[in-house]
């Protein structure tokens, strides 16, 4: 164990084991966090991080071992008890009621208000106070469903901190944030630290550890395999612990993500997809983007950067045929957005693959088998469906093949897909979408929430696709990912579009400026 300092641990896990049926999620986990300490909890998907979060937030009970607060064992049987113990949690999947405003969501988490009339002005002031000390600006008057993820996350943080919180747990907070919002978040964490609040930061991203954490705990297969001050670690060390590989070179390769495949400058070929003066509308009716013109060519990756909620989702929906543009015109693989054949089914048939941004919400049907989920996007293939009847044996055969090819870890094609880890689900989605030789690949946040090995796998796939002459449109809020993959970069911010520009023509901080909505650099 690392330095047992003079300050006693604020919250500690002692020998905690948690099983789900035959699966052991955590085995004899020891963990401690002291006041004013930022602890990074890292590990691959399925390493047991979320189970720890859920036990600390009162959603799960340990089977063995104990949780200590201020050195005394406590039982956290409900979220309310967890709050009373001074633990605040921001879950990876936000627990906000979409139809309520931010303020009402926060009030919902304040049992001390009783059941009676809400003094919204007073609550608003309390929120402002909490937000100001953290340097956060939150929109508390709009319905949550209309806010972008970064804003929702801020509401979650304020919600957690509206009580006297001594330990704040942030589960994958950076996965959805752009660089600016990420910097903001780290700022907030530092302020909390300065006030003596302990923070547990669950993350996949190595750079997060070194940006804010004091100490890192690495989990593998439910067990703690490393617990060390961040200052004494290198990225290679962390990866080595995470993947459990003894090979330092391999670990380094994963960290750096060596790219062997390079752009085969494709501007000469005909455009697969042409967008001319397109206007996109949000579901609430407001204009997300206007005047968007862009050509997508085979053999290139075009990336849209920027904070979520600036029209990226709308663009993807429109290109996938799930929506039509409000204005302008799109021609894609012989289909015209003004025509009647601009539907998801038609475009899929024409060769559009779509890796959706929220796979749990729309990319898969959790309670269905892998085979049925495969059929989701291939139900008009003659080989799988004939005369309206599904040919199950052919489907099974194909799915088994594809699962092997994409290294999806599963018990078989009949397993329910919600039994798979997030990374395997994403691999499954890719296996499905890359099937049938698509010519345009729409990839929205393809590596969000994935562990580093799977990320490399996903990136490799996209690069191969480019190599094979396919057009790839990538939407990501991860600037590193964009800089690594993209041939051309475009930014949506504040209702405007910046670019596209070749990656070679723009520096990282210029993109950062674009994302912040400043029109410096080549426009």
């Amino acid at each position: 164990m690392s330095d047992e300092g003079s300050v006693p641990p604020l919250v500690a896990l002692r020998g905690v084991t948690k099983r789900f049926g035959a699966v052991v999620a955590n085995r004899a986990v020891d963990l401690a966090v002291r006041p004013g300490e930022v602890l990074a909890l890292v590990g691959e998907n399925g390493a047991g991080k979320s189970t720890i979060v859920n036990m600390l937030s009162g959603l799960l009970r340990p089977d063995e071992g104990s949780i200590l607060v201020d050195g005394r064992p406590v039982s956290l049987d409900s979220p309310a008890q967890s709050v009373r113990a001074g633990i605040g949690v921001v879950h990876q999947h936000f627990t906000l009621v979409p139809t309520l405003t931010g303020l009402d969501n926060i009030a919902l988490a304040m049992p001390e208000l009783g059941l009676g009339r809400l003094n919204r002005r007073q609550i608003g002031q309390a929120i402002d106070t909490a937000a100001r000390t953290l340097g956060l600006s939150v929109d508390t008057t709009s319905r949550v469903e209309g806010l972008d993820v970064a804003q929702q996350q801020r509401i979650e943080i304020v919600k957690a901190l509206i009580h006297k919180v001594r330990l704040l747990i942030l589960d994958e907070p950076t996965a959805v944030l752009g660089p600016e919002d990420k910097a903001h978040l780290f700022d907030t964490i530092r302020r909390l630290k300065a006030e003596g609040t302990a923070v547990i930061l669950i993350t996949h991203k190595l750079e997060d550890i070194f940006a804010v954490a004091d100490r890192a705990v690495v989990l593998r297969n439910g067990e703690v395999v490393a617990d060390a001050p961040a200052a004494g670690l290198t990225p290679d060390d962390v990866v080595l612990h995470m993947v459990g590989s003894g090979d330092r070179d391999q670990a380094r390769a994963i960290v750096t993500g060596e790219t062997t495949l390079r752009s085969s400058s494709a501007s000469g070929t005909d455009a697969v997809c042409r967008l001319a003066d397109v206007t996109l509308r949000r579901s609430n009716g407001s204009i997300a983007v206007s005047g968007l013109s862009l050509d997508l060519h085979g053999g290139e990756i075009v990336a849209i950067a920027g904070v979520d909620g600036n029209g990226q989702s709308e663009l993807m929906r429109v290109l996938a045929g799930m929506d039509v543009p409000l204005g302008g015109r799109i021609e894609c693989l012989g289909r015209d957005s003004a025509g009647s054949a601009w539907t998801a089914a038609h475009l899929r048939r024409a060769g559009v693959a779509h890796v959706p941004e929220d796979r749990r919400r729309s990319g898969i049907v959790g309670e269905m088998s892998l085979a049925r989920n495969y059929l989701l996007r291939h139900s008009d293939r003659r080989a799988l469906v004939r005369h309206g009847m599904v040919r199950n044996s052919a489907l099974q055969r194909l799915v088994r093949e594809r699962l092997a090819l994409f290294d999806v870890r599963t018990r078989g094609a009949d397993e329910r897909i919600d039994q798979l880890s997030g990374g395997n689900q994403q691999k499954f989605v890719l296996a499905r979408e890359m099937d049938g030789d698509p010519r345009l690949i729409l990839a929205a946040h393809p590596s969000r929430g994935l562990d580093i090995k799977t990320i490399r796998f996903v990136h490799g796939l996209l690069e191969e696709a480019r190599q094979a002459g396919k057009a790839v449109l990538l939407v990501s809020s991860d600037l590193d990912e964009i800089l690594r993959l993209a041939d051309r970069i475009m930014v949506f911010a504040a209702g405007r579009t910046f670019g596209p520009t070749s990656r070679g023509d723009i520096a990282r901080d210029e993109i950062g400026a674009w994302i912040a909505g400043h029109a410096s650099g080549p426009a």
Partner: protein, 309 residues
């Protein structure tokens, strides 16, 4: 003046016809906002109607009858809540069972008590009020000041519930329980307790609607006297987009349309009366087609909540 009389008669009848439906619809709104659908409110209304008459006759006070009806309705709601909230059984099936149970209990109770004598009993039921002595004012008088006390209570109740939903923390908890119970659970709220109470409240309101039918609109109980009003109430909830005040408006729409068709019938003896009877429903169907955009039901409606622990 004839037109004025016609109008005030029409509105008064519309309000009377609407009130039992409105009360049941207000209750159903609360239950559905919390995520529980209760298709058994017809049965609860019957129990309420019977209990109200029974207690009114034996105590001499319609208010005591109303109070007893409300309690019996809450108890009926509790049965539904035990099965749907605690046991997490299929909500629609439980509602259907509740419907039969309500029909049976009210009918059986009636035969054990009031129907024993074989002659009609006198029910000292509610009478229309005369608020501020203004009920005599032409047209507006009877409408605004000359209604049954329960009608004013229904409006006040709906307004209070609307206020509760929009402006109290309890209201937030109810909306969260119906829209995204995971969020309420994570915020430390007891989803099941909120739902249980809301289902009981829905029973209480439905029973009050039954009590209006048997002690205000009429003075007496007959088996199955609700005649489908519970199902109309469910329609009103959806029509009103899960807003309690809207539920009153929707019920009023039905009531007035019904009162109107009743008055048209005698005027056009050549037209088969069935066409008048269906008129309110046809109007409802057409307006449904024309005005449905953007209507959203509580996202977790009909699904039991089981926390992951």
């Amino acid at each position: 003046m004839d037109e004025a009389l016609f109008l005030s008669g029409l509105l008064a009848a519309g309000i009377r016809l609407a009130t039992p439906i409105a009360l049941a619809a207000i209750g159903e709104t609360i239950s559905q906002r919390a995520g529980v659908i209760n298709v058994g409110i017809e049965g609860i209304m019957l129990v309420g109607a019977f209990v109200a008459v029974l207690v009114t006759v034996s105590s001499g006070s319609p208010w005591a009858g109303l109070a007893a009806a409300i309690l019996s309705g809450a108890a009926m709601g509790a049965i539904h809540a035990v099965f749907t909230v605690r046991l997490k059984a299929e909500q629609i099936v439980s509602g259907i069972a509740l419907l039969f149970l309500g029909i049976g209990l009210s009918g059986y109770g009636f035969r054990l008590t009031l129907a024993q004598g074989g002659t009609a009993v006198q029910v000292p039921g509610f009478r229309e009020l005369d608020l501020f002595g203004l009920a005599g004012v032409p047209i507006v008088g009877p409408i605004l000041f000359g209604q049954h006390a329960l009608i004013y209570l229904a409006v006040i109740g709906a307004a209070l519930l609307a206020f509760m939903l929009s402006s109290t923390r309890l209201g937030l908890m109810i909306k969260a329980a119906g829209d995204y119970p995971q969020a309420l659970d994570a915020a430390g709220g007891a989803v099941d307790r909120v739902r249980f109470l809301c289902v009981m409240a829905s029973g209480a309101f439905a029973a009050a609607g039954g009590a209006f039918l048997s002690t205000a609109q009429l003075w007496g109980f007959v088996e199955n006297m609700t005649a489908g009003r519970g199902f109309l109430a469910i329609s009103c909830v959806v029509f009103a987009r899960w807003n309690p005040l809207g539920a009153i408006v929707a019920a009023l729409g039905f009531g007035i349309a019904d009162a109107l068709q009743i008055r048209m019938q005698a005027g056009y003896p050549g037209v088969p009366y069935q066409f008048f009877v269906i008129a309110p429903y046809v109007v409802a169907i057409v307006s449904l087609a024309l005005a449905s955009r953007g209507s959203r039901m509580p996202a977790a409606l009909g699904t039991a909540f089981s926390p992951q622990r």
